[in-house]
Amino acid sequence: MTRSLNWAAVASLVLVFSADPGRAARGQAIGPGFELERSGRYADAATIYFTTVRSDPTNLPALLGLERTLFVLNRMSELLPLVQQARARLPESPALRSLELRVYAALNQTDSLAAIALRWAASVPRSDAPYREWGLALVDRRMWDEARRAYLTGRKTLGGEGTLAIELAELEQRAGNWEASAAEWVRAVTRSADVGPNAASQLADAPAPVHEHVARILTGPDASVRVRRVGAEVLLAWGQPNEAWVVMDQTLGQDDSDTQVALRRFADLAGALPTPEGHRVRGMALTRWADFVPSPVSDRARAEAVRELLEGGDRAGARRVLEAHADATALGQASLLQILIADGQLDVAAARLEASKTALTADDRGALRLALAQARIARGELDRADAALGDDSSVAAIAQRGWIALYRGNLKGAMEAFRVAGPYATDRAAATERTAMMALLQRIQEESSPELGAALLTLARGDSVAAIAALRRAASRLPVQGGRLEVQLLAGQVAAQKGGDQEAIAVALFDEVVRAGGEGAAPPAAELDWARLLVRTGRSAEAIPHLEHLILTYPNSAFVPEARRVLERAKGAIPKS
């Protein structure tokens, strides 16, 4: 017995109980049978059901109980005469008719099954139920070809392209015929729009090799608007948001409630995609949806759309949305300023920030000042970065001033600012970066080093290759145990991260630091990074001696637990996570 058969039986049971209190009482008489069935005592349960049917031959709950238990016991033939007898007494009962079909199917008597189904169909000439039950009984037996013939007989007899299309679509899907399934879903959706979400959800499971064929059926030139929207949802489910939006966009000419619902659904489904493209198309869908709904829902939708577009890297799109709505809220103003800063229009942003002081919350204003200062630093405009922070006395601003001091070569000033800012200012990544820099600065005795400041500014501006060379130069001016190894380690880490040609430089730097040894944290850290680089580039065997050397030479180092994990991975003793 398959799950669908069980569910059919249970669903019928529920229907019977709720439809007629008298029958519900009859159902209660078989309660012990149910309990025995639940505890796995099928033969005992069947005995109770038989007893009930003997005294009440049309007792449907008992007959369904026999269907469940006798199947498990491989005694279905005992049920047939009882069902025939019951059906003769209540020939109009669809539940008994369906049960009879399922019993014939379970007994593998397909000719009798067809004859019984057609006889039932003749008694209800406008109903598709006999064909549906006939087909389902065969599907439960995994007899796909026979089931297809049953459904198509129904379609031919009753007429209508969409007749039994859902059943055929599910049948083709189970049989692995995805294109045929898609074609049937097209018929089903054409007949009833309500089927759309189900169609999209089913076709989303299609395996990758058939995606192109299925997509052609759903989005080809002959496809209706309704079908194309299903196609857009399916493409989304397959992780193709850009293609999905192209299809959806082509269906948006009409201004109707279906369009609004379709856009909202599309936006919600796109929300499940974590990729930048997913965010971008969600932003576009929300932007269009906002045009269909009144304020303040539309304002919120646009604010969300801007966030999504920014997340998706579409600054131009986000800016268009904001500029098209001049009465933007504070949230909109802040987003617009973020875009201006990200676009590099720093002077315009600074002017707008000054002008819209009252329209922004204090948090937004602080965050925008920091973003502006960081953008100035990225251009090397340290004075203007300092000016952007103004009189802001927050810990985040103090930490930022620390970086500005560092880039000017004022190591002592930077250290003091970082200390005042403390370990929790701004986000976790920034706090970690600051703490790592403090650890490096602690090893350096000099209060000032313009070379190191300039090298770190070059790094902050994103020119890694130049920064590596500048850091190496700055390191050479420092004593070996007075910060040189730490600065070399930093240069090596940047080079390792950069990859390509820089990997050889990274290895040379790590080697130099490891050879120098000493008390500081740099040598074990360099050896760990060296090993990681080797593992990453597929040279795990070469990494193993480095990791073993690290563990045995620096047993008390904080890097040892991580070194052991990398060692396990290099040896293949634990899975990659």
């Binding site: 017995m1 398959t2 799950r3 069980n6 639940r38 505890s39 796995g40 099928y42 498990v72 016991l73 491989n74 005694r75 189970r174 692995g176 073993e548 563990i551 045995l552 047993p555 040892v560 637990p561 052991r564 994990r565 060692l567 396990e568 293949g572 003793a573 634990i574 899975p575 996570s577």
Partner: protein
């Protein structure tokens, strides 16, 4: 096979070390319990003498104090303590209490029964062996049927369904690629070895494993393998496989026809005839896929045995925790009233009608069954990510697995007369 498995008696435990030793404590002082087993295994594999100090500081190990072992311990984060001068005191404590020192002399050769395509992370024992650094060989049906087991001292089974019903996932997971591959692979193997059906092949494999234990092999099984190997053995001449597995329905009188004299651990069980319920019989107490019959997880308690009188069960329960959180498997536990008389219960859930961990002798060999799938993944689902044992170096559940790997290394003691 060179190591006899009947370990009902052991060499006298009192043995003075003449060379300096390293004590590998296995109580809460240990920094990586699981790797400590690997270190001890490597020591005896290298021909060194080691001792298992039963019930002493969580079942500690004693290995020679050699640079190579110190280095290995340091690399793997294993705590050790040099014990030259302290050893007499340690031995005195062992003599005076429920403790014993068992010599470990030969590293057992380990085989894991698994399909060739099984990932190394598919079962808890493979993961434990891999993490501890204990070498093993993967074998499958052809090796068993062709007598290849004789090359190994220790055999592990995990989630194999020896009833040949693909863990009864055939209908539930119908159409999924991994199941299709499993069916294909098993069907091909059955044809290749001349069996009409997969259930016939698996019964033959079960009989091969039974013979291996009778001849002195050590069998350790977890999860579904425990329950289904006994069902397959008891059903040698009875059809207990659903139609989808062999084309014929289950024998309606199968329950009555099962011959439990052929099984390892269980008796008088009733089969689960519904092909849609991924449960095999009423041997499993928890019935994880049994709908309303499913029981919640609790915790199981390890038994205390007399180390000097019952060294084998004592070895199997060495742990730094007495109570361990339970974990599901397709077979999670063993109903008490389905156990054969004479089976040794190693761990049970107090007050519950099931036990977790059992052991017994058969012929010249022994078997141990441990319910559940993965001690550190209590709700294990198909498709879950593998357990990273470097995050569970103190796992008491995994320790029980590794106890089984090491106990065949214990030296047989001459029988007292």
């Amino acid at each position: 096979m060179t190591i006899g498995a009947r370990l009902s008696s052991f060499l006298p435990s009192f043995r003075h070390s003449v060379i300096p030793s390293l004590l590998i404590p296995m109580d809460d002082a240990q920094t990586d319990h699981l790797k400590a087993y690997g270190l001890t295994y490597k020591a005896i594999q290298a021909g060194l003498k080691a001792e298992w100090l039963l019930n002493y500081r969580g079942g500690s190990f004693l290995v020679p104090d050699l640079d190579a072992l110190r280095r290995d311990a340091a690399l793997n984060g294993i705590r050790f303590e040099p014990v030259d001068s302290g050893m007499p005191a340690v031995r005195g404590e062992i003599e005076a209490n429920n403790m014993d020192a068992v010599p470990l002399e030969k590293a057992p050769k380990v085989a894991v029964y698994a399909p060739p395509n099984a990932a190394p992370w598919d079962d808890a024992v493979t993961m434990a062996l891999q993490y501890a650094g204990i070498p093993f060989t993967k074998i499958w049906d052809a090796d068993v049927v062709n007598g290849g087991l004789r090359d190994y001292d220790w055999l592990h089974l995990h989630h194999e369904d020896f009833t040949g019903q693909y863990s009864k996932f055939f209908l539930i997971y119908s159409g999924l690629p991994w199941l299709a591959e499993m069916v294909q692979r098993n069907s091909d193997m059955a044809r290749r070895l001349g069996f009409q059906t997969v259930p016939d092949l698996k019964k033959a494999v079960a009989r091969g494993i039974h013979g291996y234990v009778e001849n002195g092999g050590f069998l350790f099984a977890m999860c579904t393998a425990t329950e289904t190997i006994d069902l397959a053995l008891a059903a040698e001449h009875v059809d207990i496989a659903a139609t989808f597995a062999d084309g014929t329905p289950i024998d309606p009188d199968a329950d009555a026809k099962l011959d439990w004299s052929k099984s390892f651990a269980f008796t008088s069980a009733h089969l689960e005839p519904n092909p849609l319920v991924a449960s095999f019989s009423d041997i499993d107490g928890h019935q994880v896929n049994g709908g309303a019959r499913r029981q919640p997880l609790g915790a199981f308690t390890l038994f205390n045995f007399s180390a000097k009188i019952d060294p084998v069960p004592t070895m199997l329960v060495q742990n730094h925790r007495q109570v361990v959180s339970d974990f599901y498997g397709l077979t999670t536990s063993f109903t008490r009233n389905r156990l054969k008389p004479g089976v040794t219960i190693l761990a049970e859930e107090e007050g519950a009608p099931w036990v977790k961990y059992v052991h017994g002798d058969l012929g010249k060999g022994t078997w141990t069954f441990f319910g559940g799938h993965d001690p550190e993944d209590p709700q294990h689902q198909i498709g879950d990510p593998p357990t990273d044992l470097s995050l569970h170096p103190h796992s008491p559940g995994y320790r029980l697995i590794l106890n089984n790997v090491l106990f065949p290394a214990a030296k047989k003691r001459e029988l007292k007369t």
